[in-house]
Symmetry: D2
Subunit: 307 residues, 4 copies
C-alpha cells in the first residue's frame, strides 16, 4: 500500500519515535514490523511503501542486520535518514514505586547503557532479557513476572504504564540513526546537502586496497562520513567496506567517483542517496562542483575536436 | 592470581571453547566472567592474570563492549588472539525429540543465525531470549519452561544435555575472534607475524583525516587488516578510528608509523601487539624491514656528521 | 605548403639526421630553419606543414625554447617524436690530419660532451664557439680560420668534409629527442602506444600542488614519463609543470585525467598526443582501459535511471 | 686557501655580481673560474674554499652542468644561495653610437633574451656567439671585429666599455639563482628558514615512483620548491629526480624523510642544506616541527617499555 510505512516494532520503540518525526512519513499509516528482515521483506513484497530501520547507533556502531539486509535480495534504497537521541526511562505499572522493584526487563543493549543508574538506584536488582525494550513494556503491562521495564518514554502511553524515572542512560549523548528504505524510484533529487551509502567489495584482499578506494573519493573532493571494513561472512579475514559519504549520485563528482569505484572493485552496491540530517556539511569546493565538471567536459570535447 | 584466566562465561560458551584451544592459556585455571566489563575488571584488579573476550565476529562485526572496555580505564593490552568457527547445536534434556519441542531459548544473535534451519525443522516454534547461549543451556538443564536451547556443542557436557542437531547455523563460515588481554608487561616480543590494535582519535573531524592516517601506514609499507570509524559517544557525527594492522610495536616500521600517528592525532590508544592467528601475512618488503630502517639511521647519522 | 617540413638547421645537424628517419616526413621536401622560434613560426604562418625541433636531450634535459615556443602563440601540436643517438665526429677539410689541428669550432654543448676525447687526442687545442655544430662545419668548408669541426657525421657529405674521427663523445648513450609539430588537425588517432605532453599552471603556488596533480594521473592508472617544475618567468619562485605521460587524449582515462587537471589548475596547455618511439610502455591495466570506462558509464547511467 | 672563493667567470659575469652581494663571501678574495666544472675542481682540490656557480635561471631552468658536477666526484655541499635579477646591457667601446653598430657578440642565451629589443633598436644586426657574455665584453675591449657586446652592466668597469643601453632584456623578471658550494664541514646549522637539494635515483623506472617519493615528503609536511626528472645519461628513458625542498637536514622531519627516501631509492645524493633567500616559507606545521618529533619519540619509548 502506497501510504503505509513500517517501522521496527513493536509499538513504543525508538523507531516509532523516529518515524513520527520524519517528514517523509507525514500522514502515512504506520505499522510495526517484528524485525529488520521482516520490515525489509514488507517493502520488497509491496505490503508497505517503505520501512524505517536503525542503521547506526552511538554505542553499538553500525547495525549489521540492516546493512546486510540491504545488501542482499531485491534492490532497496535509502531515501531519508533521521537521528534521534536515545533516552531511556524506567516504566512501571501504575502504583509501583522504586522500592517495590526487584526484577526488571529490557533489551540487553539498553541494560548495558543504564548500568550506572541501576547500580546507584536499584542495586542488586535482577535484570531479565527481552527481545526489545518495547517488548519488555508490553509484557509488563500484560502482567509479566517483573516489576519494571527500561524503554523509550513513548512506550508509556501505548502500554498504560507510568514513568518512574527519565534519562537513566549513562551517556547523555546516545543516539540512533534510522533510515527510510523504499523500492527504487522514490529517491529525491540532489538537494546540495546529501549523503550516499555504498558497500564496496574488493577484487581481492590486497594491501593498499582501502587507500585506493579513498583516493577515488579524495581526488573528487568527496568526504567520507563513516567507513567500516566488515567481514564478508564467507571467509575469516575477507572484508568489504561499508561507507557513507557526502553528496548525491546525481552530483557529477559522485558519479565520477562511483564509476572509478566500479572499475576497481569486484562489486559496488549502491544503497541510496538521501538528504542528510545530522549536520551541515562543508560547502563543495569550486573545483569539484557540477559547474566545474560540466565546464571541463566542454573543454575536453573542444580539445578533442581540435581540427 | 598469576595462573588463573577468565573468559566470557558462563561455562559452555564459545569463549570457553576458544580458551581451551589457546596455547597461552595452557595449564591455567579457567574461570567464567559474567560480562566483558566484568572480565576486564577482574584483570585490572589482579583477580585473574588475563581474560579472553570476543572482539569481532563474522556476523556482527566488532564487539563494541570489548573495544570500549579496553579504551577506557587502566591500560590493558591484547597479548594473543584466536578465531574459532561458530557452530550452533540444538540441545535438549535427555529423551526429548524434535517433535516434542514447542519452545526454545537462546541469545538473540544466535537466533538470528539459525532462522533458516528453524523455519524448516521447527516451523512455528516459540523462541525465548536468553542472556547468552550458555544461559539458555543452563536454564534448560535446571528445568526451565522451554524444551531446547541453541548453543555451543560444548555446553552439552557441562549441563548434562543431549545434542539433537549440530551445525544448525545458516552460514557455514561464521566465526568469532577472541583476544586475551592482560596488564602491560606480558606482551610477547615481535615474532615476524604480528598484528597491532589501536584506537585513533582525531584532532577535529576534518575532511581527509582518514586519508592522512592511512598514509602514515602505507608510507611505511604497513597493511591494515580492519578499520572502523566508530562514534565517540560524545556527539552525533564525531568518530574515532579502530584499526588493526600488520606488525609489532617493536618493529621499526610500526614504531615510526605510531609516532607519525601520535603527531597528527589528538590521541593514539595502543591496545596491543600480538601474534596473529588468522592467516599468513604478506612478507615485509625489503624497503621497510628492520634492517632497512637501521641502515637508513646509520646513513643519516653519518651524513649529519659530514665534517 | 602541405608537403614541406622544416627542421632545426642548418643542413648537417642532428635534426636533419632525425627527420630523415621519421616515417611521418617520408617523401616530404625538407627545409632547414634558423632557430626553433623560426621553425615554429614557419608552421604557424603556413609556410611549412610541420617542423622537427629538439625537445629533450640526455645531457641538457628539456629544451626550453621548444617548450616555451609551443606554450605561447597560436596553438601547435606535437604529432610525432623520434629519438636519435648523438654521435659526434671530427670533420676536417680533405687532407687535414690530426697533427695539423690547432683550432677547432663547435657548439658549446658539443664541446662539453667531447672534453675527454679532446684532452687525450688534441691536448691544448683552441676551441671556438659556433652557433650550431653544422655552422661550424659549414664555416670550415668555406675556409674559416680553424682546422676542424665537431659535428654530426652527416655534415661531412653536405659540406665536402672528411671524417677524421667518429664517436668522440664522452658518453656512449647520449641522445636527443625531437618532436614534429603541426597545426591542430593532423594528430593521429590513439595507437595504444602513445604519449601526451602538457603544461600545467597552478592556481597558486600551494604546498601539495604537485601531489594533487600526480594523483589525478595515478587514480586513472597513468604513468608519467617526464616531469619538470619550470619557472614561469614572471616571478622568482613561481613555477609551472611540464609533463609527459603515457596515453592519448582520446583514451578514456586520459580524457578524465585532463578534465580533472583542468578543474584544479589555472590553465592546462595541451601540447599533443603522439605515438611514442622511446620504449614499449607497460600494458594498460584492465581497470583503466577504454572498455572499463565505457562499462562504468553504462553502469552509472542505469543506476541513475533506477526507477 | 681558506679565504679565496671562485665564481663562474670571467670577470664581469652575473656570477661576479652575485658573489659581491653574498654575505658568506664578504671579505674573501674572489677569483674567476673558466667553467662550472673548473670552479668545482678548484674547490675539490682545495685551491679555493668555495665556488659560486649558477644552478637555475628563470629562462633556461636548471643548469645541468652544475647539478651534474655536484652529483659526481668527491662530495661537495651547497652552503648558501643567492638569486639576482638578470639585466642585460649593451656595451660598446667609448665613442661608439647605436648607428655605428653592425655586429654584436654575446652568449646565445643572452641573445635569446634580447631578441625584441634588438629587432626594434638594431634591426638586421649580425650576432656572433661568445662563450659567455663577459667574454664578449672582454674581446670587444681588446679590439675584436664587432661593435658591441650584450652583457652584465658590471662588465663595463672591468673592460673600460661604455653602457649604451640598460635593461634590454625582453623579460623584466629574469633572474638567476647561484649557489655557493664548499667541501663538507662548512654547512650552517638549521636556521628555521632553510632549503635542501637532493638527487634521487630510482631502483627501477616503475610507475608511481614519483608519487612514492612525494609521499615521503608530504607525510612529514615538507613542501617541494623544485622538481625535475632528469635523464641519467645512461639510457634513453631512464631518469633521476633533482629536487629542492623546504627544511634542513638537521630538522627532525627532514631527517626522517631522507631516511624514508634512502630506503626506497637506489641512491639519495645529498647536495646540501642552506638558508633560503628567495621567499619566506610557510611556517612549519605544529604536527611536524622538532618538538612534535621529539615528543613522539618519548611517547613511543615509554610505550615500548610498558612493563
Amino acid at each position: 500500500m502506497s501510504n503505509t510505512f513500517a517501522y521496527l516494532g513493536p509499538r513504543g520503540t525508538f523507531a516509532q519515535t523516529a518515524i513520527l518525526r520524519l517528514p517523509a512519513a507525514d500522514g502515512a499509516e504506520l505499522v510495526p514490523a517484528e524485525s529488520v528482515p521482516n520490515a525489509l521483506s514488507m517493502v520488497r513484497s509491496g505490503e508497505v511503501a517503505g520501512a524505517l530501520v536503525p542503521i547506526e547507533n552511538s554505542v553499538e556502531g553500525a547495525v549489521p542486520t540492516t546493512l546486510d539486509g540491504l545488501s542482499h535480495g531485491d534492490t532497496l534504497e535509502i531515501v531519508a535518514e533521521i537521528a534521534i537521541p536515545v533516552e531511556f526511562s524506567l516504566l512501571v505499572r501504575p502504583g509501583t514505586t522504586l522500592k517495590d522493584i526487584t526484577r526488571i526487563a529490557t533489551h540487553p543493549h539498553a541494560h548495558a547503557q543504564c548500568l550506572e543508574w541501576l547500580s546507584v538506584n536499584l542495586p542488586g536488582v535482577h535484570v531479565l532479557p527481552a527481545m526489545s525494550t518495547a517488548t519488555a513494556a508490553s509484557d509488563l503491562s500484560e502482567g509479566a513476572n517483573f516489576d519494571a521495564a527500561i524503554c523509550a518514554r513513548v512506550a508509556a502511553e501505548y502500554y498504560n504504564l507510568e514513568i518512574l524515572a527519565d534519562n537513566i542512560g549513562d551517556s547523555d549523548a546516545a543516539w540512533t540513526r534510522f533510515v527510510l528504505v523504499q523500492k527504487p524510484g522514490h529517491a529525491l533529487p540532489a538537494s546540495g546537502n546529501d549523503k550516499t551509502t555504498v558497500s564496496l567489495f574488493m577484487m581481492e584482499n590486497h594491501p593498499g586496497a582501502l587507500q585506493e578506494i579513498l583516493t577515488e573519493f579524495t581526488v573528487r573532493g568527496i568526504d567520507l562520513t563513516r567507513v567500516e571494513s566488515r567481514p564478508t561472512k564467507k571467509q575469516l579475514g575477507a572484508y568489504f567496506f561499508s561507507i557513507d559519504f557526502e553528496g548525491h549520485i546525481d552530483d557529477e563528482r559522485v558519479g565520477e567517483a562511483l564509476k572509478g569505484l566500479h572499475r576497481i572493485c569486484a562489486d559496488v552496491k549502491f544503497l541510496g542517496s538521501y538528504p542528510r540530517h545530522d549536520h551541515t556539511p562543508e560547502p563543495v569546493k569550486s573545483a569539484v562542483n557540477n559547474e566545474a565538471f560540466l565546464e571541463a567536459d566542454q573543454w575536453l570535447s573542444n580539445l578533442r575536436k581540435r581540427v
